[in-house]
Symmetry: C2
Subunit: 142 residues, 2 copies
DNA sequence: AAAGATTGATGCATCAATCTTC
DNA sequence: GAAGATTGATGCATCAATCTTT
């Protein structure tokens, strides 16, 4: 109950940070190296492909990503320049359409992403503590 | 053993991401709101204050942060402009010196940071599963 | 040459200000 | 006016190229 963290507290905090950063970075690195997609790219493309079956209104997309409009706008500008998506004016909004290149990239990325999530996160969770871990993560994130 | 993630796997993956992002964001937000320091700012200042007792060679600092030289150089340029540190040429390198403002900011930030780490992370970890959790984080991060 | 450091370019995140369209 | 979208500015991360000092 001191003002600063104890040794043990500091260690746990560092372990948490290190783990979070390592898991995030390794998965992103593996997917990105093969497909050229960043994590945000992958999120956008999977949503447009799945939810919209290839096209989705920009505002819906922002909501489903939990992003502000401006963030999505900036990101789509970059993705459009790389030929991954197109923007198409629609009734009261803008439609985001995935391109052939975009479909190809996300199709290649999906199994890589799944394998990386397993190898860098899921496979390390012992079956007998999975429920506790799940409960803890739920509390931490809510 | 499919190509993609199952429901349960996807849920755990999302919980992990959500928790990591929430914990990181909340702590950074609380410290930043009061002190104006970002997470990298806080890391730099604490190291200069502790390891160097107020001044530290830039290369040492980069190593202790796990940063590349260029990243530190860019960051110090911004911190210098805000009056948090000064750069001073030294034998075969550059000395990073914390300013009075820098000392004040980090002194204010430290207890806030400790309290935030407890409230948003440590307090949620049940004592009886702390050892398992610690072991899991160690494996994930190494 | 080699180590230490800087710079410029690009991508990404966030905020405020603006523009457009209903 | 209000919702949807864009733009510009700033901070931060990463890479490659460069400069400097020994």
């Amino acid at each position: 109950v001191d003002d600063l963290l104890s040794e043990a507290e500091t260690e746990l905090w560092h372990l948490w940070r290190q783990a979070a950063e390592a898991v995030r970075g390794r998965i992103a690195e593996e997917v990105g190296a093969v497909t050229g997609l960043s994590d945000p790219d992958f999120g956008v493309l999977t949503r447009v492909a799945e939810l919209g079956c290839g096209s989705l209104r920009q505002n819906e997309l922002a909501a489903s990503m939990g992003w502000h409009r401006s963030r999505l706008s900036h990101h789509l500008t970059r993705m459009e320049q790389r030929g991954l998506v197109e923007r198409r004016p629609s009734e009261g909004g803008v439609e985001v359409v995935i391109t052939g290149d975009g479909r190809g990239a996300v199709a290649k990325a999906r199994p890589l992403h799944a394998a990386a999530v397993r190898r860098h996160l899921l496979d390390w969770i012992p079956a007998d503590s999975a429920a506790d871990f799940r409960a803890l993560l739920t509390r931490l994130g809510s």
